[in-house]
């Protein structure tokens, strides 16, 4: 090789010739910034350009990297799984509007156990029956089928019962998922939590923001016995529709698809359960204690009223 290679140390430009150029054509650095390129023909006498060397080198690199990655991955597996589990508990708590808890694992146990001594992580099926009263937490997202639907029951500090439905779907770039907590009427939303793997920051990623999630509180999941909850550009029915995020159309339709598909599976459970749970609201004039009613604010029976949901209870 007659011509030497000169490399610009500033920008990496390679010049071929007998001497370094006066000025680097790329970055205008002077001749002093050039040095002769080390071209593979080494002091060690090893020909790094030979085929055999290249093949062996790549094989060794691949083996080292493979062992390194496999080793690290298996060494850290248990810690990572524990983190993932803890994160799932945090997400479930977030759907109940419990955030920034110091010890989420303990709080989760407290809430999900309620007054019972068991974690209420149920598995229900699409016919609305509870298949198993445990193991719901361990169901991975890709194993959720019509016969295998996880559902969590939580009791909050004020004694109210909430049902939490997990769900997954697809956004614009990747997976989206969330939890919806319902009041004990199995219809009104108490709180939601959404997250995503890789939606666009500032647009689709806003589904993970409090601002978007707080819009869901108080909305209904079902209308006339059908799943009706959705996010929409124009609100036609404020009971079941939530204001969408402008500029994030595909992520929002992903949320809609997720809501429609997953809630449909739980519909039977929700309908069935709502009937059992909710005592019919009794109008004041049909109140069994109507004869004792002494006028506004003077209800004689008040808290002991047998009609648990008398709409004038304590008021009339």
């Amino acid at each position: 090789m007659a011509a030497k290679k000169y490399v610009c140390k500033v920008c990496g430009y390679v010049h071929e010739g007998s001497s370094a150029p006066d000025v680097c054509p790329l970055c205008k650095a002077g001749a002093s910034e050039f040095e002769v390129q080390n071209d593979g023909k080494k002091k060690k006498g090893l020909n790094t350009n030979s085929d055999i060397y290249a093949v062996l080198y790549s094989a060794v690199v691949v083996v080292i990297v493979a062992f390194l990655l496999a080793g690290v991955s298996s060494a850290l597996k248990s810690r990572q799984d524990a983190n993932v589990e803890l994160d799932k508990k945090k997400q479930i708590l977030a759907s109940l509007n419990i955030k920034n808890e110091a010890d989420p694992a303990k709080k989760y146990e407290e809430v999900i156990k309620g007054k019972t001594q068991k974690l209420r992580e149920y598995i229900v099926n699409s016919k609305g029956d509870i298949v198993k009263e445990e193991g719901g937490f361990a169901v991975p997202n890709d194993a959720i089928t019509d016969e295998n639907l996880p559902l969590y029951v939580a009791t909050l500090e004020d004694g109210s019962t909430k049902y939490i439905i997990p769900m997954t779907g697809n956004g614009l770039w990747g997976a989206i998922w969330g939890y919806i907590a319902l009041n004990d009427d199995c219809n009104t939303i108490y709180g939601v939590y959404f997250s995503h793997a890789s939606e666009t920051p500032g647009l689709g990623a806003e589904i993970a923001s409090d601002k978007f999630q707080s819009r869901f509180a108080g909305k209904k999941v079902l209308k006339d016995g059908n799943v009706a909850l959705n996010v929409a550009k124009k609100i036609a029915d404020a009971d079941v529709q939530v204001d969408a995020i402008s500029g994030a159309t595909i992520t929002c339709s992903g949320v809609n698809g997720m809501l429609a598909e997953k809630l449909e599976k739980y519909k039977a459970f929700l309908l069935k359960h709502a009937k059992q749970e909710a005592a019919p609201v009794v109008a004041a004039d049909k109140c069994v204690a109507a004869d004792k009613c002494a006028g506004a604010g003077k209800c004689a029976v008040k808290d002991s009223c047998p009609a648990a949901k008398c709409d004038k209870k304590g008021v009339n």
Binding site: C11, D39, A54, L68
Partner: protein, 208 residues
Amino acid sequence: MGLSKKNKEALTAPLLKDNPVTVQVLGICSALAVTSKLEPAVVMGLSVTIIVSMANVIISLIRNTIPNRIRIIVQLVVVAALVTLVSEVLKAFAYDVSVQLSVYIGLIITNCILMGRLEAFAMQNKPWPSFLDGIGNGLGYAMILVIVAFFRELFGSGTLFNYPVVEKLGLYDCGYLNNGLMLMTPAAFILIACIVWYQRAKDKSLQE
């Protein structure tokens, strides 16, 4: 810190007159993707700084053994392995950070700045200057991201680091509206072009 003139150059040149984004025109794709908010821009800038300096050191250490013909593949393997390792470790010890970063892992591996610096600098230089070059380029990149993200978040969402600045100033009450274009990628193009324009107008030596 006693740095030789050459090492100082490796560290400071990428900040302005050899900036990876505005002068070398590397890493544009990720600069578009993560700059709609300040927070991801900062996270991305820091991660690239760390990864590019680490990769630079590793490649620099083995630079004399790498066969010339497969050097790009070797560089890619090193970068990909490094990023994967870092994300695994974060997942085990700092889960919240890893959740934040998960979006950017792919963007870091394919970031042209990494390959560009490995090929242009680490292959020819000793580990210490290579490390400084990585830090310099990472910070130069982060700086541009933060500048772009500042304007995009302020005018696009009316917030800074998710703090509602515009709302607190009461501008919405006067009929001010956020500029939706700022959240779209073309806005990043326009802003980066403005920075390039300004920089070249100031520094005549950069003009072609």
